[in-house]
């Protein structure tokens, strides 16, 4: 479609440019609608990072405001030798990878189940979407108090139902803190993955599947050699978008464990450094480290999206 339009545009005789000025003016007319959004984004999202970079090189604690000055790389040394921050990096990676991977796999299974006709399909789809539509803080509170609570939470309640009065009653949050946070996030993000993958399944060319079936391909062969390659870009899209959101997760960690028991991820740790310790310099240095890490991951991720975009342009 785009290619057609460009071809038409090229074929059209261009009006002879009278002066360079007219051409420049025309270019600015074209750019004008873009500028408000672009300037707004640069000011609100990029300038703070520049400021963070500057503050990260300063000695600045809000509890000791007179002792402010240039600190060089001291804050960075502190950040890299701080065991809390190093473990936060590990936790963030583990949390993001686990949640994205498990949600993708579950989302794929659910999408395959929903991609077939059965009685009440619309209702099941609606029920499956519900977890994603619960406000994240509300979901975290729900899991912490109504499900995980060892005395009256639903999980231990179900165990009592199944095994009677002497059923095991595990302490879910203190016993497996990171898994507890991950489970609540998987519950919320699986519907997201399912929706994207289901849309992918439904855009699958049916004639190829039919042809393969007629040629005697098994269900597994159809899935492995037709469905999965077709779904690849949808899986990548789900993984990319899921990572963007989950790597920044704050609500679940803040609510369920308050960052305790080894579940403090980077967003929570930086929030805490800045909110409780008031060490602005060190919090900023941590922020810069996170940004550098994100840029590395983002460069890779953007390549994935750009391949999607190229396909769209070609198609």
């Amino acid at each position: 479609m785009t290619a057609v339009r460009e071809a038409v545009a090229r074929a059209e005789p261009k009006p002879p440019a009278r002066t360079g000025q007219v051409k420049a003016a025309a270019r600015w007319v074209r750019r004008a609608p873009l500028l408000p959004a672009l300037i707004f984004t640069i000011v609100v999202t990029q300038l703070p990072f520049v400021a963070t970079l500057v503050i990260s090189l300063m000695r600045w604690n809000s509890l000791d405001p007179t002792n402010r000055g240039f600190a060089g790389v001291d804050n960075y040394t502190a950040v890299f030798t701080d065991p809390d921050l190093r473990s936060a990096i590990g936790t963030t990676v583990l949390l993001t990878v686990t949640v994205v991977f498990v949600s993708l796999v579950l989302g794929l299974v659910l999408a395959l189940l929903l991609d077939r006709k059965f009685a009440g399909r619309g209702l099941v789809r609606t029920m499956l979407i519900a977890p994603f539509l619960v406000v994240p803080v509300a979901a975290a509170l729900l899991w912490k108090h109504a499900l995980y609570n060892p005395e009256y939470g639903l999980l231990n309640g179900v165990l009592t139902w199944l095994f009677g009065a002497d059923a095991p009653q595990p302490e879910w949050i203190s016993g497996m803190p990171l898994i507890a946070v991950e489970a609540s996030l998987v519950w919320q993000w699986t519907p997201f993955m399912m929706l994207i993958l289901l849309a992918g399944l439904q855009s699958r060319p049916q004639d190829a599947v039919e042809a393969a079936r007629i040629d005697g391909a098994t269900a597994w062969q159809v899935f492995r050699y037709l469905t999965l390659p077709h779904l690849r870009q949808y899986l990548e899209l789900g993984a990319l978008l899921g990572s963007i959101y989950i790597v920044q997760n704050f609500d679940a960690v803040f609510t369920i464990t308050s960052g305790g028991l080894g579940t403090a991820n980077l967003p929570y740790t930086i929030y805490q450094t800045f909110y409780q310790a008031h060490d602005y310099g060190q919090a900023s240095a941590a922020g810069v480290v996170v940004v550098v890490g994100s840029i590395v991951i983002a460069t890779f991720a953007l390549r994935v999206v750009s391949s999607l975009l190229r396909e769209e342009v070609r198609g």
């Binding site: 038409v8 004008a32 519900a130 977890p131 930086i270 922020g287």
Partner: protein
Amino acid sequence: MSRILGVAAWFAGLLFFAPVAWMVLTSLHSEPDAATNPPSLAAPVTFDSYAEFFDSEPWPPLINSLSASVGSTVLVLLLAIPAAYALSIKKVEKWSDVLFFFLSTKMLPVVAGLLPIYLVAQYTGMLDNISFLVVLYTSMNLPIAVWLMRSFLAEVPGEILEAAALDGAGLVTTLRRVVAPVAMPGIAATSLICFIFSWNELLFARVLTGVVAGTAPVYLTGFVTSQGLFLAKVCAAAVVVSLPVLVAGFAAQDKLVQGLSLGAVK
């Protein structure tokens, strides 16, 4: 086989829905009935928790959330639609670089810019002010909106635009007759997504607002008390705060998919 898979789908649906159903059911029980083991499913239904929730002055935070979400969604649309136009219909040079710049801002963790943003709010007296949140939520959702709107506007058939130009249609007529019909579903999907993400936001609201401009998610976190039973009350509050998102999301399921995939899926 096919019957088993249908049953499996139903089982999965019920399993994922169970916590939501449990939240609603608990909110309708009295506090003692909500805190039993094994759970009392058939306990008498009462609306006490909702009554208590609405007695606890929930309107200021709910209205704050509504203003921040609606305000930022409107602002996002005002900025994103012209930008998307310049990235799809009348393309600027290097349009795909610009597009990727927008997306890349979503990948920088907001928490890294939190401190300067806090300091700006402090120095300009904008702490605890809902308009400051509107600006931040706009910047948070603008990249998503630009991507979404661009993918919709890119569907406007070039031939029709050419034909309209040949027929001497002006910009306003072209926008109204040719672009608007294609853009409308995109605007709906964008609004839905921006509304949901703003309504859900906790980190900025928690750091930058206080008693005046506190939003519903912040209010929710303060609903847990250290003494006494609070499970039914928390569930009632969670249901009320989630209700706008649940209703909007269920009502516009197809728009939800389009929005979440940045328009890659239509």
